[in-house]
């Protein structure tokens, strides 16, 4: 596969390491009263879509950027690529 890095342009997927569902960005607050339940869902419940999937890729053999890649699991077509840091901020994460 070829992943078009937002900063570096098209790069071979072999330069990247795959982590998984980009919902990992939405880490719950560990100090919340129902943290155990939230963490259970966060860590163990995953969608397994036969279509578009937002996932985290790490440019380990490159600039060390974490990316959110939207990939069609049926065709491997990639429709969207963003820096994970930007996505995290858009989703309300900060410090």
């Amino acid at each position: 596969m070829i992943i078009t890095h937002p900063l570096l342009g098209p790069r071979d997927a072999q330069e990247f390491v795959y982590l998984g569902d980009a919902s990992l960005i939405n880490r719950p607050d560990g100090m919340a009263p129902d943290a155990a339940d939230q963490f259970h869902d966060y860590l163990y419940l995953r969608d397994n879509p036969a279509s578009l999937h937002r996932e985290l890729w790490y440019h380990e053999q490159g600039d060390r950027s974490w990316l959110v890649v939207t990939r069609n699991t049926l065709t491997h077509e990639i429709t969207q690529i963003d820096l994970a840091r930007d996505v995290a901020r858009d989703e309300g994460r900060s410090k």
């Binding site: 560990g30 963490f39 966060y42 860590l43 985290l56 060390r64 974490w66 994460r93």
Partner: protein, 982 residues
Amino acid sequence: MTQSNRIDGGQIDRTRTLTFTFDGKSYAGHPGDTLASALLANNVRLMGRSFKYHRPRGVIAAGSEEPNALVELRTGARTEPNTRATTAELFDGLSANSQNRWPSLRFDAMAINDRLWPFFAAGFYYKTFMWPKSFWEKIYEPIIRRAAGLGSLSVQDDPDAYDKGFLHCDVLIIGAGPAGLAAAITAARSGARVILADEDFRMGGRLNAETFVLGNQSGPDWAAQTVAELATMPNVRLLPRTTILGALDHGIYSAVERVSDHLAQPQPGKPRQILWRIYSKRAILTAGAIERPIAFENNDRPGIMLAGAIRAYANRWAVIPGQRVAIFTNNDDGLRTATDLVAKGVDVVAVIDPREGLPFLPGIRHLQGAKVIDTAGRLGLSSVTVRTPKGVETLQVTALGVSGGWNPNLAISSHHRGRPVWNDAIAAFTPGADGPVNLTFAGAANGQFPTHAALNSGATAAADAVIALGFTAPAPDLPKAEDAPTAITPFWYVQHGKGRAWIDPQNDVTVKDIKLSHQEGFRSVEHLKRYTTLGMATDQGKTSNVLGIAVMAELTGQSIPQTGTTIYRPPYTPVAIAAFAGRSTGADFRPTRLTPSHKWAAEQGAVFVEVGMWLRTQWLPRTGEVTWRQSVDREVLQTRKSVGICDVTTLGKIDIQGTDAGAFLDRVYANTFSTLAVGKVRYGLMLREDGMVFDDGTTARMGQNEYVTTTTTANAVTVFRHLEYCRQCLWPDMDVQLISTTEAWAQYSVAGPNARKLLEKIVDQDIANDAFPYMACAEITVCGGLRARLFRISFSGELAYEIAVPTRYGDAMIRELVAAGTEFDAVVYGTEALGVMRVEKGHVAGNELNGQSTALNMGLGKMVSRKKDAIGMVLSNRDGMINDDGYRLVGVRPVDPAQPLTAGSHFIAKGADPVAANDGGWLTSVVYSPHLGHAIALGYLKKGAARMGERLRAVNLLAGTEVEIEITSPHFIDPEGARLRA
């Protein structure tokens, strides 16, 4: 050395004669020959034995689709089994041997299987070798494997080099027949970067096998001229002898180029083969078509071939497979073989055509409404029996060409699960619309069989491709070519008699097997394939799949499209594993990293061990030491007695800086670092989000906003990745920066009672116990001004320091340390002594940090702060993880000090059976402690913390050992830590 079947013409170089051997006998051929064409020229029809029945077999095809003529090429370490004689390019001195026969190809003892054939029908193995179960692996499988099979390996290292490479292009064209050449020249003239790949050594495809005229040139001449023009263009790369193996994602194609397979051995500096990854923006599949046979009784005898293959041998290689030839065809293309042969003066005895009412071929005995119902000839065809409307007749022939029509070669179109579509007009499947993105099809691969259509569709596909990429396509400049319609009446198999009619000759699948499969309910194409093994041989059913499906369709009374088709998977043809390995073999399988002290250690005769990718000193033998234990015991004892030096550079080092660095560490470690004083070091435990321990190490606070974290050697990469993930994905606004400095610093541990005295000779600053106490850290200088870092930390349990200098001074530093240590009789110790001392001290390492253990298991539960949110904090407090009956880290010693212990042994109560239900835990790390004079171990024991002094058994059923042991504290030496603080 006569070539009795060689006729005039052909694209071979008769000015040179090549000598080769087959099964030890010497023959002659010419440059341009394949092994198959040269054998046929010498009237050798018998080339192998079949997989299951050991039937005598000859070549049936002229290309890579060949199912029968699999031979072993070359000798010694270069022996290459299961190679198709049809693709093996002849070279002088080639040595080839037949396979799957004993004692000889002409007399094969295993041919008894053929007499026993009623027992060997589809499903025979599934039904027969079922009981008793204990016979599966040791008795049935070895026997079956010996009886059925193909070539064998040399079991020697391949002496040749294999490479990998990367190519980029605008348009990749797969196959250099008429469509591919028209596509290539059209795309190339537009200025686009073009790669044209063909598995053959001579480009031109069927043009080289036919007598077609293109414009005013012969087909081969037009092909050669077009290839010559392409070769002059700088934007074109021609890849002959290159098979496109598969369509990967996003326009990437995998290919293997057989750079030196046509030579006795590669030229100096050249690889045998290259595995290419080709990055294309557009690709065009112009891979032609593959002829399929018709099934009839005993249709597998040497001499019975595909009609198009006979024509190819006659036209391209000037070879006829026999002196008297008949043709059995259901389509007009098969008739071409008859007319071409007659034109060459070959005796064509008859054309057997199941169709009726056709115009009769002039000058040839054209039997219409006729079928071949049987054949004769044990080691080669001698006659065929034909049923015509007038009766049954036997024809004395030595070769029979069979054509059941042509299947577009669409394998690559289905590599992304694209489904082929049935086309009634040509009675074959054509590529579906759901193939790989940006791959289009032209020529016979797309069902456009006439040469005129192939040329035009190739040019059109190329023009479409380059225009889509922004180039301007020139007007096509194509020669006039034959445009005969495809005339075919589907006809699949002859229903007659009780004998066997082969469909898949390589896997010995017959019409009867298909019928049996149908009868037993395995009717879907996928079941049919797996039950009968149809199409599952090394040829992937290139000649047989469609025929098999057609027979099943007739049996079920469904149409072929209703019956379905199987799709193809990569690789298109078999690939040597060496090509996938490339240069990554032996010591080059993966790179090794050398520590800064490597050169010095090698000079001392150190024994090295691979840790991660590093080569670390395992121990340093001294003169007179015979066993490794002598060296390791000495290193341990001398370190504890005086001082030892160890290279610990391989530990991961990460500089963490920024105003939020402390807060960041609090989030990623279970314990707290923001409260750590500047100039101090603290041990840290890093958890995974699920609460298991991920890694451990020390973190030093070098300044208000500057920390240096160490990781274990094994996890250096994954911890850094994890920290980047936390920083970018979880807390994107934290002011924290990370950089790996593992390679930047050479780091040595100096441990033992004399460690300070030794370092005082090197360090420029005061490091007395008050000035630089236990767990202190500082930026210092050494040797009169060289910047360095000093940490007072200990893994061994002794008074110890780790000193880091810039890597380029690492070699100088080990020499300096050793020189400074001479007066203390200092030793340099390796990873074994390091391991002994950490077990003696009760420190956990990789064996305990196995991804299944919690902080509580390790006796470090109190380190997990619940006052802050950190990775893994919440889930480490789950019920199942904090119960009291879980595993706890314990020490273990044998009751009898003379007894050794075995790592991996399980704790079993005295008197209890050594079964899983009585399992109490296991020994994680075992060493011999020279300090204590007996073996010691660490282990995880259920409720271990409360069981000190208890006696159990350590049982290892694999090693066959059982030792009575006593549970102790994991801290075997200096449990109070007085030495550390000395």
